[in-house]
Amino acid sequence: MTIAGRRVPFTACIGGVIVLLTVVMILFAPWIAPYQQTKIVGGVWDPPNAHTWLGTDSIGRDMLSRLIYGGRTSVSIALIATFFTMVIGVGLGFLAASTNKVVDNILSRIVDILLAMPILIFGLMVFAVLGTSIPIMIATISILESTRVFRLARAVAMSITVMDYVQVARLRGEGVGWIILREVLPNAVPPLVAEFGLRFCFTFLFIASLSFLGLGIQPPAADWGSMVHDNAQAISFGGYAPLYPAAAIAIVTIGVNLIVDWLLSIHAMPAGASAGAEV
């Protein structure tokens, strides 16, 4: 198939389908899920059967319904966190690239120090002190991850601001706002969209890992990470219960990654953006 005259590879189409299904799941969860997420409908770790297509979980709730509702929780939180990450990172990154050297240096030094800490460790620390309510989680992740986005956004913006057409706008007397919004941003969209996808994947996996460690979203709200944690014991009995939410996490991440890969193959990231600052 083609979009805007360019052939879209098969892998990106698969990614697109997955993302679409995820969106449907988020928006229409109550209409799609067979049961309520807290309703007990069977025994402990029932195998898949006609009533419960994926079996039941550790206390007899329908796995499929909890997967659907859990997906809504997991994905939405990750999306919100990624949104804030991008807003902070891109905003500051563009600012650093477009204003004077002093501002740039200050921001870059602060970011360098924050970058020297792995997010997981720093996050664990914050959660130890402040607890793990959802707003705290979103805020912590956003602030820490925005440093990675800052680096990329700054590099992208700098590769654009050296262009003569930006200089033309400056000489004309255009303000910083106009230059960022009308000259820089339209040209920065492709790498930024790809970065959004990458950040979403990282955030999504990160939140799932946190929940898995018992530190993320608390029960009884379903969320894929904690579902794996709760059902982990099933493995020793030969059950597959924890694998369903884990597989769901993987599938969504793969889908987004496929689309991001396609975007990156069209528009390479500029030099200076650290390749895959995933930590």
């Binding site: 262009m163 003569d164 057409y165 200089q167 033309v168 000489l171 004309r172 255009e174 339209p186 040209n187």
Partner: protein, 545 residues
């Protein structure tokens, strides 16, 4: 068929993966020791053709038809190993940009010796000795130790000669030279050209010399082939092509060069009121003086060309004039007004009166904005109008630069180089400036397109009375459009005055050297120029032999 015939190409067809045809059925004959010049504008297919004797096509392209016979053998039928044995050994390539053609992690000696050693032609010692010989023949400094340098430790001209040494290291039968002197300054070019010619003659190597510059190719080629859109337009002996071209395209190319050669500047009756006064301007970057106490004036309706080679400071001067760079000393005056050094401190009117046009239209136009917006915004900004008035004025501007009105809906990516530069000119005119600074605006364009732009600029000057400060390194351009000329060397102004005067009687050594170095479209020019340089270098009394 004489056994002197080295290369025979018949019906060569090279296509890109998107179906575009790069060369369409080209025939070519080349004898041993003969130099064939491949002339054409960008997109003519000359570089693609040049790579064919190496049985190589750039990624995304492939040779889809025709025969390539090297000494009677069809090299398209060779297998991979045989091809490798051919490249560098029997046919060698000299790239356009030596700086990027060399591996930054290896010394020059290692790269020059790699060919002969890896192909098993000679041992390392012998290869190094030979390399030193070639360095000496090419007049490189300290030939014994030059090879120990890394590419970033040598200058552009030195690298170009080193690349020639690398190509000659296996003593190939055929040398393909892809615009070898295009990236060099005029004064360096003449030396490299002379050395190349010497080398080719000494080893009786055949050569394909790819270039867009007729004057350069006249010095070195025995025959010329003119290419356009992948097809051969005309071919013949150099003299014949230059003196009596047959095809209209060839004629256009030749007369463009002739006009560049024969210009004597534009005469001026009397100088009118001063538009821009450059008063002892000095611009420094740290300890380096990029511009050093330069002073001259530009009058209304006048074109003043600022000429110099790379590093002369001419572009720096332009940026200082528009307020992008701050001078360390001196000032600019517009009429009587003293202009604040930084553009941020200047008023809207002051900024409006001086406009700048850049060299590369690709990065001077925002690829995500339509032409209507690129022109509309400055109009709205400077004229303080909106709505329909903007549209009218934009249409006016498009007509002024000779472009159709429906271009407002297009994006820059859909325009050709020349059209993009016209848009840049229109954008500058939107401010209704008194002075337009043109920073090498024709340097990146093909000769015929550049000629059109120069004509347009002249017309606009006659119609609107606008003045130009024309920054360029090309003396041919100066001769065609400039009333006055300023010559800069390493930041200093060494000559200033009416063009005709300065060029007829150069007041200083550097200007004279510069004028001597510009190739003319005569086959005997190079020998003459070298002889003149020797005399001039030796001083009024030649040294006793």
């Amino acid at each position: 068929m004489s056994e002197d015939l080295l290369l025979q190409i018949r019906g060569l067809r090279i296509e890109a993966s998107n179906g575009q045809v790069l060369t369409d059925g080209i025939d070519l004959d080349l004898h041993r020791g003969e130099v064939l010049g491949l002339i054409g504008e960008s997109g003519a297919g000359k570089s693609t053709l040049g790579l064919a004797p190496l049985v190589y096509a750039r990624p995304g392209c492939s040779i889809t038809g025709g025969e390539i016979l090297l000494a009677g053998r069809d090299i398209r039928k060779l297998d991979t190993n045989e091809r490798r044995g051919l490249r560098g050994v029997r046919v060698a390539y000299v790239a356009q940009s030596a700086a990027s053609a060399f591996n930054p992690s290896m010394t020059l000696m290692a790269q020059v010796c790699e060919g002969p050693v890896r192909h098993g032609l000679m041992g390392r010692r012998e290869a190094e000795a030979r390399a030193v010989e070639l360095f000496a023949a090419l007049d490189l400094p300290n030939p014994q130790t030059f090879g120990a340098r890394y590419p970033h430790e040598a200058s552009g001209g030195q690298l170009q000669r080193a690349m020639a040494a690398m190509a000659m290291s296996c003593q190939p039968d055929l040398l393909v030279l892809d615009e070898p002197t295009t990236a060099l300054d005029v004064t360096t070019q003449i030396e490299v050209l002379a050395k190349l010619r010497e080398l080719i003659r000494e080893y009786r190597t055949a050569a394909l010399y790819v270039t867009h510059d007729l004057s350069v190719v006249a010095q070195i080629a025995d025959r010329i082939m003119v290419l356009r859109h992948g097809r051969m337009v005309e071919t013949g002996a150099t003299e014949q092509i230059l003196m009596t071209p047959r095809e209209p395209y060839t004629t256009a190319l030749v007369s463009e060069r002739r006009a560049a050669m024969q210009g004597h500047g534009v005469a001026e009756a009397a100088r009118r009121e001063t538009v821009l006064a450059v008063q002892d301007v000095t611009v420094t970057f740290g300890p380096v003086k990029a511009v050093s106490e330069v002073a001259f004036t530009v009058s209304r309706g006048e074109t003043v060309a600022v000429v110099g080679e790379s590093g002369s400071g001419k572009s720096t001067l332009a940026y200082a004039a528009v307020g992008q760079l701050l001078p360390a000393a001196g000032s600019f005056r517009f009429g009587r007004d003293l202009l604040p050094p930084s553009y941020k401190a200047r008023s809207r009117e002051q900024r409006q009166r001086i406009q700048l046009i850049y060299q590369l239209p690709d990065i001077a136009l925002n690829p995500r904005q339509k032409i209507g917006m690129i022109l509309g915004r400055p109009v709205a900004f400077f004229d303080r109008v909106s709505g329909a008035a903007v549209g009218t004025r934009v249409a006016e501007l498009l007509t002024l630069v000779g472009l159709p009105a429906d271009f407002v809906e297009r994006f820059p990516g859909q325009l050709s180089g020349g059209q993009k530069q016209r848009i840049c000119i229109a954008r500058a005119l939107a401010a209704r400036p008194a002075l337009v600074i043109c920073d090498e605006v024709t340097s990146a364009l093909d000769p015929l397109v550049a000629e059109e732009i120069l004509k347009l600029l002249k017309e606009l000057q006659d119609d609107l009375g606008v003045s130009y400060l024309f920054i360029t390194h090309d003396l041919g351009t100066v001769k065609r459009i400039a009333h006055r000329v300023v010559v800069m060397l390493k930041g200093q102004m060494v000559a200033e005055g009416p063009t005709a005067e300065i060029f007829e009687n150069p007041p200083d050594d550097y200007t004279r050297k510069l004028l001597l170095s510009v190739p003319e479209m005569r086959t005997d020019w190079l020998d003459e120029a070298l002889a003149r340089r020797e005399i001039w270098r030796a001083g009024p009394t030649p040294a006793l032999a």
